[in-house]
Every structure is written in structure tokens, then in C-alpha cells.
Symmetry: C2
Subunit: 525 residues, 2 copies
């Protein structure tokens, strides 16, 4: 550990030891990779290091991307895209074509294992403030532009093979890639997600967001002086000039920058933080028994119209709910989300937050503040809840839905609905299984899920599924097993009759491939 280089070498060995490859093969691939990086091959591929550096540190001035530590599968896919022309580059095209399959894999693995120090001076930028806001919060009300970190993971450090790390990447390179998505020069993005995102960004925004990610450390462990942690909540908002005007059908909650200072403002900020990171926030994590957060069902942290926005919910309570046959305050309604959607029964506390606990008080403060100016008792706010989806002639069918799921949803939520975690945190929520919402959550109803999906999924591509696709995929997701309904009374039949008699509900009615009725006790884990 006497020099950074020794430290990096130690890391490479440590990480390589964790790879699930047989030692012999690993050694072979590693040798090949190292050779390609430093020497290239005899068929026309120049040494990768000549542009990307021996440790993937790259040459920022020249606009070449840093590769150190990027996901191997992602790097492999990029080389393949250069081969097929889905990515076009006069430099990389010929080089990629000169690599065979084994060389592609070896070069990708080599850089995936590499660790590179940052330039001593750090990467500074005159203005990444507006970029930070886009990166961390997106721009929803007009544009359905997700936060970059919603797919690229906390701090932009990447999620799996599909969503590369962008933290610490050269700003000029990020900016050039956004331009390439926009122009169609680059087309290898799943679901066309990046083409959609890039199309929504102005050049100034692209520059700002690129500068922001360039300023972030690619790994938390580098020890480099970083800008304010990406964990907190910023008060910055995009400059007015970057907001695309649109028909103003929906209420606009006040901008984050308007949260007042002082104890009430602190409560609002805490409430927003809990809303965004319910499963990991120190105040609320003990009450969350799965991998869900408030913002999973209420996009843009409860601000987005047609995504069950909180400004519409606040003014609608107290209200009678048939679900529990009583008048509920907003506090009790929030408790319901913990109980069902966040499966509090499986949490450390084993119960919902008490009605006067800081969690509830601070969430209430946030909701109240979001609703600033909304008339008390107005239950007809445009954009309230999820817009109801009309039944289709075909009805809904889990079988058909499975195909939709594989094509449009599995990318983020995983082939088995398990979601994706990174660095111990859930990035994409699970949709079924033991870490998903339980059988009491509103989302388990096919009509509710279909309505949510149609208006909000895939993230940033709302309304892109047909009504039929939305119905079918909702049926597929909700015909899978999930945590027991906390109202289960020991009898599947009785629980079904009492709470699950609706036609949009598979609980106690649909059989898993193994023949078990959904919700039957044996299915509990």
C-alpha cells in the first residue's frame, strides 16, 4: 500500500478473486486483455491504452471516455455495437471490427477490473448546479424526464450491464454521447430510453449534466474531494430558460428552492428525503419490510400528475375509505402505504410508524408543503391518482403479459421481477417475490397497476405501451406470488372473500406453476 499504483493492483487482484470464472480461464482472459490494452493485436486493433490509458484513466482533453471500472458486460456490448454499427465512430469502428469475440470479452474485463486515479486537479466545472438538479431529480412535470440516477444508480455509479457508471466520466465525452443519441449516431440503448432522454435535453442542459457527473467520484472509495454528496436534497432548480413550456393542465407544487429555512423547512426536507429513500433513510428504514420507497409508485417524489401526486392526496383527507371502513386522516393513509406497499410486517419494527412519529410528521409536512395553494377538500384535481384505464375487449391475460414484461420491463425490474440493487440499495423496485409490495397493497389490483403502468412506465416513456399491453403486463405481474396480506386471518378463503373479491384480483384464485393458489400459506417465505 506504499503507492496508489500498488493499491490499485491490490484491488485488481482482490476483485479478480471474486469473479465466478475458473482460475485457469480467468488467468488466460486476463492475460489476453492486458495484451490488448497495452499492445493491441496483429489484425489492426491498436493498443487500447493509447487513447484510454493503461488503467482506463483516459485522455480527457481529447474527449476519450474513462473506462476504468465500467461494467464488463456494458463494455462488451459497446464493442459489439461498434461492430454492428449501432454505435458509429470513425476511430472505434475499425478497431472493434478487428477484435474477435474472445478479445472483446478480454478487453472489456480488463478495463472493468481497472482502477485509475483521477487527475490531481480534479474535474471542476463553472456550472454543474442546473446539471445536478437534472441528474438527481429529473424534469418531470412537463417532460417526464427521469433523474439520471434513477437508471444510472445512486451517484451515477452504474447499475448492471445496461446502465453504465457515468460518475467521473469526462464531461466532453458525456456531452458528445448525448448528442450522438440525439442525432441517431448512437442507437444501442435498450427500449430507446437514452434516445428519448437525449431528445428532451437542450444543449445547455446536456453540458450542465455532463459537467455534474464529471465532477463526481466514480467510486466512493477514491478519497478524492468531491462536491456535496449526492445523498442530500439540493435546493437548486433548472433555470427558467431550460424548462420547456407546455400546456399547464396540472397543479405545480412549489419549486424545491422555495422550501423555507428553519424547523418547518427542515421537516419538509426530511419528509422529501424519507419519501425518496424510504427503505434506507435512518428514520424510516426500520418500518420498511421490502425494497420499496414512496417514490416508486409516486414519481418525481410525489410531484408528478397522473402518478398519484401528493399535492392532490393532501387536500383529499380526512376521507372515508371502504378499504378499512372508516374515516382516515392523511397520517393513517400514509401508514397504509407502509403496511401494504412497503410491507411493514416484514420490517425491523414489524409495524407501521406510529401516528405521531417523526416519520409521519415529516412526511405530512412534505405533503402539506407540496400542496401549497391547493384548495382544501378539492378531490377533483386534474392529474389526481392514476388515470383510470378502460377495459379492453380482450380483457387481460398474464400469458400475453409475460411477453410484454420480457420486452419492456425486465431490463430494469429483472427477469424474475426481483428489481435491481446496487451498493446495498434498491435502484429498480421488485415487482413480485418476497421484497415486493404485499397482497394488501393497492398496486396488487390489476386495474390499479394497469393504470399506473400506462401513464408512467417504462420510466420516461409514459403512454408508450398500448392499453392492451398495460392491462396484460399488469395481469402478469399481479399473478405472481408476493408477501402475505397482513389482514390474512388464517383462512385463505375468508381473506379472499373479505378483501379480494374484485375481478381485478388474483389473490386466492390464480395458481402458480407449482399449483399453489396465490396467497396460500405454504407460499410464504
Amino acid at each position: 500500500m506504499s503507492s496508489p499504483l500498488h493499491g490499485a493492483a491490490y484491488l485488481v487482484i482482490g476483485l479478480a478473486a471474486m469473479l465466478p470464472l475458473p482460475p485457469a480461464l480467468a488467468a488466460t482472459s486476463s492475460d489476453l486483455g492486458r495484451r490488448l490494452v497495452t499492445q493491441g493485436n496483429a489484425r489492426g486493433a491498436t493498443a487500447c491504452a493509447s487513447c484510454h490509458g493503461e488503467h482506463g484513466e483516459s485522455n480527457a482533453q481529447a474527449g476519450f471516455p474513462r473506462l476504468a471500472g465500467l461494467n464488463a458486460g456494458y463494455l462488451r456490448a459497446q464493442l459489439e455495437a461498434f461492430q454492428t454499427g449501432q454505435r458509429q465512430s470513425p476511430v472505434m469502428g475499425p478497431i472493434a471490427e478487428a477484435l474477435d469475440k474472445a478479445e472483446v470479452a478480454a478487453a472489456a474485463s480488463s478495463y472493468a477490473r481497472a482502477r485509475a486515479a483521477y487527475p490531481a486537479a480534479g474535474v471542476e466545472s463553472a456550472d454543474w448546479d442546473g446539471g445536478e438538479t437534472l441528474a438527481r431529480f429529473g424534469a418531470w412535470p412537463d417532460r417526464h424526464l427521469p433523474a439520471c440516477v434513477q437508471c444510472h444508480g445512486p451517484g451515477g455509479r452504474g447499475v448492471g450491464a445496461s446502465f453504465p457508471a457515468i460518475a467521473g466520466q469526462n464531461a466532453a465525452y458525456i456531452q458528445s454521447q448525448i448528442a450522438a443519441w440525439k442525432s441517431g449516431l448512437r442507437r444501442n440503448d435498450p427500449l430507446g430510453l437514452m434516445r428519448s432522454v437525449a431528445a428532451k435535453l437542450s444543449d445547455a442542459e446536456a453540458a450542465a449534466v455532463a459537467a455534474y457527473f464529471a465532477s463526481l467520484p466514480s467510486q466512493p472509495r477514491t478519497g478524492r474531494t468531491a462536491p456535496p454528496a449526492a445523498e442530500g436534497v439540493s435546493s437548486e432548480v433548472p433555470a427558467a430558460s431550460t424548462v420547456v413550456a407546455s400546456a399547464d393542465r396540472y397543479f405545480r407544487p412549489p419549486p424545491r428552492s422555495a422550501i423555507p429555512s428553519g424547523p418547518f423547512g427542515d421537516a419538509v426536507r426530511d419528509g422529501e428525503a424519507i419519501f425518496r429513500r424510504t427503505d434506507t433513510h435512518p428514520l424510516s428504514s426500520q418500518f420498511v419490510g421490502n425494497d420499496l420507497r414512496c417514490e416508486n409508485c409516486h414519481l418525481d417524489a410525489g410531484r408528478l400528475a397522473n402518478s398519484a401526486p401528493m399535492w392532490a392526496a393532501w387536500v383529499a383527507y380526512p376521507a372515508y375509505r371502504p378499504k378499512n371502513d372508516k374515516v382516515n386522516t392523511i397520517g393513517e393513509r400514509i401508514q397504509g402505504c407502509f403496511r401494504f406497499s412497503m410491507n411493514a410486517q416484514g420490517s425491523a419494527a414489524g409495524a407501521t410508524p406510529p401516528p405521531d412519529s417523526p416519520v409521519i410528521v415529516e412526511l405530512m409536512s412534505y405533503l402539506y408543503w407540496l400542496a401549497s395553494g391547493v384548495p382544501t377538500g378539492d378531490t377533483q384535481m386534474p392529474g389526481r391518482g392514476y388515470p383510470k384505464l378502460e377495459d379492453t375487449a380482450l380483457g387481460f391475460d398474464p400469458q400475453r403479459g409475460a411477453a410484454v414484461y420480457a420486452a419492456k420491463c425486465a431490463l430494469c425490474h429483472g427477469q424474475h421481477g426481483q428489481g435491481q440493487r446496487v451498493g446495498g440499495r434498491s435502484v429498480f423496485p421488485p415487482l413480485w417475490g418476497p421484497r415486493a409490495y404485499n397482497w394488501g397493497a393497492g398496486m396488487h389490483a390489476v386495474d390499479t397497476a394497469a393504470a399506473f403502468i400506462k401513464s408512467n412506465m417504462p420510466l420516461g416513456l409514459p403512454e408508450s405501451l398500448s392499453n392492451q399491453e398495460a392491462w396484460d403486463v399488469a395481469a402478469f405481474v399481479n399473478s405472481r406470488e408476493r408477501p402475505q396480506d397482513p389482514r390474512y386471518d388464517g383462512s385463505l378463503k375468508q381473506t379472499r372473500e373479505r378483501y379480494h373479491s374484485g375481478k381485478y384480483d388474483y389473490y386466492g384464485k390464480w395458481r402458480t406453476p407449482s399449483g399453489r393458489l396465490l396467497g396460500a400459506p405454504a407460499a410464504r417465505r
Copy 2:
């Protein structure tokens, strides 16, 4: 008990036994009274019974008032008013003048002890609906017209010698008296209260309210078929034509008739009932440790501007309160009222209602409904709270305040601030002593009390005190002993320094006549 008459006689004996008169004198007075009723005297007083009936049953057709069971002090005061001309009547004037002091007292006592059956047919009226609303709820927003029952007691059955029973009184008589107050023919009302009330009533309203009280039983025990009990909450509102238009400076909560049906509406109705009768309502009484109700500090059941109206409070929470140094939800704020203003520590429960209890949920439902349409977060609503009263050059002084109190407040709140109860219920709230708000209540601060008093007291005569009078009487009231501050920590000095350091606060600073500092433990009862 074989006939109504025997029953009545039994009652007379029973009540007479409770009078604090020496038996001999009582017998004498009773004999004299009976003689006057049945025979009159030799100096020109005709027999009372010839108009008022032997048992005070009266002759309704002729417009003569029922006297049976009216308060003796009240009846005496009326005869004296006929003698002085404060009441003018060509019939009663000469008769009263023909009575000496002892005869006045004897005749009054005789009728006070009398019980009379109602006409078998009952007293029916085509329309007492609008009258019921005025009688039970008043007409506040424009007119500061208190509900009749606020002074005449629950069911209009009278409070002490100053506020006669009007339940079961002849409608024509009630109506004629309202007209007499209005025209100045009758002027013997304390503080001019009835002249103020009568001036605000249209002829149609006077007729309706008279008809309503005529339809009520004068005593609960008569067993007569009565119209709907005066306990519940009616959905009637005065006809639009009877509402005097005024500059519409203040928000108007929806009319009571707009409370929806169904479970939510039920919660609102329950909430209103709890607000009006906190100390006796089955859900809330266990949490009230004194004789106060929400509506005592928030007139017109929380609807009235400048009387800390609930529609303004609802939209102002959650909010930070220095009082407990945290962000409070409206639920916690309501708990604060129970803790301090209603002295929950002295209640059966010994604590405030839990945050998710029906009491809090239903009060919240009522407040929320009152605020229908008010913009969320608007903390600048005109009429919010009590309008701050500027300091005066003279400051405030309990000594001067004592005189104001005796002249303007003791009538209702009692000479010793003990309030007035009737039939086991508090009608006028105590202002100090063991059944008043405790040392932690907002009202214990002289500035808060002065602001409340100036805008709201005496009931129905707002703004009638000078600023100086309001300051002084607030100082007087709040320099008297009351239940301990529940935050008291065993040290008067510490509790004073921590919670009572303000200049409008006598706690731990002012000495009672016996030399004890206010709030000192020995003063606790």
C-alpha cells in the same frame, strides 16, 4: 303520586326543603305568596292567577307568560322593573306598584316553585325550523348573534336569575318581549344584551325563534312529547332572506346543511358535536379535566373570524411551534388544547386523546370540512387567530380589571370566575380556579386573553370594551390561581423561567391575596 297535582305538590315540598331559608320564614313567605296568587292584596294588586293561572300555567291565547318554575330571583327582578318602569306594561305596572318588597319576594317564590302541566294538545307551530337554528347556533359571521341557548342554557331552560327559562314559554309572549327590547319598552337587561340581540333579529326571525322555544318542554321531566332533542346538531340554516348582508371580508365555511351524508359526513357531524360539547360528549368527556369546551375560545363552533377560527387553523398546519419546539401537525395542536385549555391532566383519562383516536380524527374531519376551499398553507387568512391588541400607554392592571370584571363579566362567568353550570352542564365557562384552563393554556397570557376579549366579549357585544378595559380585565382574570402547568417540573422558578418568562404572564410572579406566588405547589387543589 296518584295525580299530576299531587306530583306537583310533592315537588313543591321537595324543592322548598332545599331552600336555605329558616323553616318559619319559608312557611310565612309561602303562605303570603299563595295568597297573592289566588287573591291578590287589598291595595290594588289583583290575583296573579287570574292571568297567570294558579300554577303559573298562564293563558297562552291572551299572550300572558307562563311563570311556572321560572327562577325566583328573575321573577322578583321583573316585578321590580315594572315598579321602576324599566319594564312598561299598562297591566303589570299598577299591579307591581301595589306590591311591597316582601310581597314581591313571596309572589316570585310561589311561581318559582310551581309546576304546571302543558296544554294537552302541546304547543305546535307551522315553522320553527329557522328558529331552531338561531336558537341553537345563532348567526355569527355577519351579526355576532349568539345562540339563544348560550345564555338561556341547554334547551332554553334558564341559567340563574339573569337568564330566564324560555323553553315552553308562550310564543306570542316571547315575540312581544323581543319587540319590547327592540323598541326600548323593556330595558332591564344586564349589559344591554337582549336589546343588542333583539336589534339584530328580523320580525320573521323573532317569530320563528319564539315558536321554537314554545315547542320545547320547560323541564326535561314533564314527559311531554317534544320536538327533536336540542342536543343533536341540526342541518338547518337560516333562510337566505334573513341573513343581513355585510362586507364579506372573511372566509365563509360551508353551511351546516352542506355536510355530506355517509361516513365522512358522520365524522364531521361528530367532530362538530365534540367541538361544541367537549366536556360532556361521550367520546371526549373523559379527556376534559375542567369545565371548558372547544367552542369557549373558538366562537360559533370554530367558524367565527377573529375568534381563532378553525378554517384558518386547518391550513396552517403542520407548523413549527416554539411552544414545544417542534413541528406540530393539526392533530398534535388539538392535543395541545386538551392538555392545556381543557386540563387533560385532571380528566378521567388523565391524558390527551391519542393521535389516532376517534376524538382527534373526528375533530380533524370537522376542521378540514370547515376549511373547504381554503388554499393549503395560507397562513395570512383575514380573521385568523385573535386580532392583536396594541399595548396601551397605561399598561394593564389587575386592580382596574377587577372593576371591569364586576361590571361586564361576572354576570355570566360568576363573581369568583367560577362560571355557571345548569343541569350538570357548564353553560358559562369558569375563567379561573380549579375548573378553568391551566397555566399552560395560551389564554393564560394577558395579551392573548386581551385580544380574545376585545374581539369577542361580552358574548354578542364584541368591540364594546375599550382597549384599556380589555387589557385590564385580561390582567385581572390571569392574575388569579388556576390548575398547574402540566409542564411543571417540581420547581416553580425553573418552570417560570422556562415557560413563563414573557411580560404578559403572571405565573410564578404575582402573589395571591394570601401572599402565595401563582403556580406555587401549595396552591394546587
